[in-house]
């Protein structure tokens, strides 16, 4: 068992919480997510061109890079988090170019040393897996793939193949932080994906409130929340931890009390 798989073998669905590294006091903000009840931490690597992200996370990327955040800073934030929270799974999420700049092996090894459990790379589909996937697997880091409403049954096997940790189902064909998908569509797609793989399926994109999270948790193994948390960092700055803790606690309560497979 790994830290990541442990998060999905609890008796309740997992809450996955996203923040952009280097946007505000990331250490204090991440601690607040853990205290609020997050089961998995997703740490965003800032990038100049976050083309799959909506305005909230775009702004977080700009704030972080504007504050001078480097790849070394992101890895240091991860390593310090790992030192404070030995058991909480930590996933890096970002775009290909910062991850492969010094070579995929360098990145996989540095991420492993920083205590990272998984990597989500938005713009490396299965067709380009060799750009990063083999290096991650060799280092013992889970490459977490994304499936979307447009991932038809013809390509689903390729998406699932080589995917580890969990599969991230992107509930809307669109960018982060915008509209929420209908629960019927989410349920049908999660069911379809789970027929193709044994690994857990977490659902994200457009999930903002405990009510939405609780509803999704009834049909999935995990729920991912990002933009709503990132907006609290933007709004409250150094006072963000208290607000993050409060929203995360509400999300965790809703997600954790949803019985798996109740729908």
């Amino acid at each position: 068992m790994t830290r990541l798989s442990n998060a999905f073998t609890k008796p309740h669905p997992a809450l996955v919480c996203f923040l952009t590294a280097g946007d505000g006091d990331t250490a204090a903000n991440l601690d607040a997510l853990v205290e609020g009840g997050a089961d998995v931490i997703e740490l965003g690597m800032p990038f100049t061109d976050p083309m799959a992200d909506g305005p909230a996370i775009q702004q977080a990327n700009i704030r972080s890079l504007g504050a001078g955040t480097t790849t070394a800073d992101v890895l240091r934030i991860a390593a310090e988090f790992r030192a404070r929270h030995a058991q909480v799974p930590l996933v890096l999420m970002g775009y290909a170019n910062p991850m492969i700049r010094r070579g995929p092996d360098w990145f996989a090894s540095a991420a492993k040393d920083a205590g990272v459990d998984g990597v989500i790379c938005v713009d490396i589909p299965p067709e380009e897996d060799d750009a990063l996937g083999p290096a991650l697997r060799a280092a013992g880091i889970a490459p977490i793939r994304l499936a979307t409403p447009t991932t038809d049954d013809r390509r689903l096997p390729a998406v699932v193949e080589g995917s580890q940790g969990f599969l991230y189902y992107v509930a809307v064909a669109g960018i982060t932080g915008m509209q929420q998908a209908a629960i019927e569509s989410i349920e049908a797609n999660v069911t379809r994906i789970k027929r193709a793989t044994a690994i857990p399926v977490a659902v994200g994109f457009g999930v903002r409130t405990p009510e939405q999270a609780g509803e999704i948790a009834r049909v999935a193994d995990g729920v991912v929340v990002g933009s709503a948390l990132v907006e609290l960092v933007a709004e409250h700055g150094t006072d963000a931890p208290a607000h993050l803790r409060e929203l995360t606690a509400g999300l965790a309560k809703a997600v954790h009390s949803a019985a798996k497979g109740a729908a």
Binding site: F47, T48, D49, P50, M51, A52, G54, Q58, I62, L65, T70, T71, Y95, A96, N97, P98, M99, I100, R101, V122, D123, I124, P125, E127, E128, A131, R145, L146, A147, T148, P149, T150, T151, D152, R155, V159, V170, V172, A173, G174, I175, M178
Partner: protein, 409 residues
């Protein structure tokens, strides 16, 4: 003039990309999963179109009667005299409908969009030439058109913004980043990912995820195919040197590709050196960048040591992009094409030189190519022949040039 089928001859420079859309180490399909099924559909549809005589016929017919092809091949006699070396010839793609080479590609892509049943068109634009060309074909085929354009480019290319609006397009100014071409492309990709069901993205250069670099090159190759035949007809031989400006690289590939397997034809791609390659204020991805992944393909990029993309600079909005089509990255590594760079100042001088010697106001993009021609021609024998692509006319740039020359118009 048909669309190129990939040449299967071994050791050919014309047999790229491979079946995964890779040009050697470059190219590929680095897009979000949401777009992958669409990109695969586009490839299937393009393969079908390549072998469909009706598609070819419609493409050729529109190029002839709507765009005005073939474009002339012109011997620039007075420029040649002024330079005192090689004969300089121009492929006059600035005489196309809409004033640049961009329309060749837009005709091909909108025919593909219609084949695929798409009902909404989006595009990004830098100088506005691709935006105008896209708005034009959308008006011609009655499809709604949204053009993403960096806010800074909207300011410096206001005549083209007005043209697009006249043609019925919605122009969306993009304020993220520095408000230039790369930011417009990010916004185009965000729109596409949210509207995959009905929207076709007409990419303006030979970059982006496979099959875009290949199909844009093929649609633009009409330039080189015509030029090759015209050179044979006019002087009975091929040119010694081809020269073209490079932003994303589509006009250069369009000219170069049909000549790639002619070993005696040398080729020179001209990047924008902005204020100079020794600083950060340039847009020369090949000469001043490193390989990386952006906007769907692996290619040379302007970036820092952490892989953050740095903003290009050029006096020419059409060259101000931190990436380059992946086929150019491959041709550079293969040393089949030589690449150089021209500064803003040199391009401005060349712009004025062509105005005064030939009575042609060129766009700032081909002014870079003309500046490189001026440097090379002097050192070449008088019986040698340079063919440069005059890929756009300069009407859109007169305000920028006036500002730089200190003239208030």
């Amino acid at each position: 003039m048909g669309i190129a089928m990939t040449d299967s001859t071994p050791n050919s420079f014309r047999n790229q990309p491979d079946e995964r859309g890779h040009f050697g180490d470059y190219g590929g399909r680095f897009v979000a999963e949401t777009l992958m099924p669409l990109v695969l559909d586009l490839e299937r549809e393009y393969r079908a179109a390549q072998t469909d005589p009706e598609f070819q016929r419609e493409f050729d017919d529109l190029l002839e009667h709507y765009v005005g092809r073939p474009s002339p091949l012109y011997f620039a006699e007075r420029l040649t005299e002024a330079l005192g070396g090689a004969q300089v010839w121009f492929k006059r793609d600035e005489l196309n409908h809409t004033g640049a080479h961009k329309i060749n590609n837009c005709i091909g892509q909108i025919l593909l969009a219609i084949r695929m049943g798409k009902t909404r068109i989006i595009a990004e634009t830098g100088a506005g030439q691709h935006g105008v060309a896209t708005a034009t074909v959308c008006a011609r085929f009655g499809l709604p058109c949204v053009v993403y354009m960096g806010a800074e480019d909207v300011r410096r290319q206001s005549p083209n913004v007005f043209r697009m609006k006249l043609l019925g397009a919605e122009v969306v100014p993009v304020t993220s980043g520095r408000g230039t071409l790369k930011d417009a492309m990010n916004e185009g990709l965000r729109d596409w990912v949210a509207n995959v069901h009905d929207t076709f993205y007409i990419i303006g250069t030979a970059a982006g995820p496979h099959p875009y670099p290949e199909l844009v090159r093929d649609f633009q190759s009409v330039i080189g195919k015509e030029a090759r035949q015209q050179m044979q007809d006019r002087i009975g031989r091929l040119p010694d040197l081809l020269v073209a400006a490079i932003g994303g690289g589509s006009n250069a590939l369009g000219l170069f590709h049909p000549f790639l397997d002619d070993p005696d034809v040398k080729m020179l791609g001209v990047e924008a050196a902005g204020h100079g390659l020794d600083g950060d204020e340039h847009a020369a991805s090949l000469l001043g960048g490193f390989p990386g992944v952006l906007h769907g393909n692996r290619t040379y990029l302007l970036q820092d040591e952490d892989g953050q993309i740095t903003e290009g600079h050029s006096i020419s909005a059409g060259l101000d992009y931190p990436g380059i089509g992946p086929e150019h990255a491959w041709l550079k590594d293969m040393e089949r094409v030589e690449y150089t760079a021209i500064t803003d100042e040199e391009a401005l001088e060349a712009f004025q030189l062509l105005c005064r010697t030939e009575g042609i106001i060129p766009a700032l993009e081909p002014s870079h190519a003309i500046a490189a021609v001026a440097k090379r021609a002097k050192d070449m024998p008088k019986d040698s022949v340079i063919l440069a692509n005059l890929c756009g006319r300069g009407d859109k740039d007169i305000f920028t040039v006036a500002e730089r020359l200190g003239v208030n118009i």
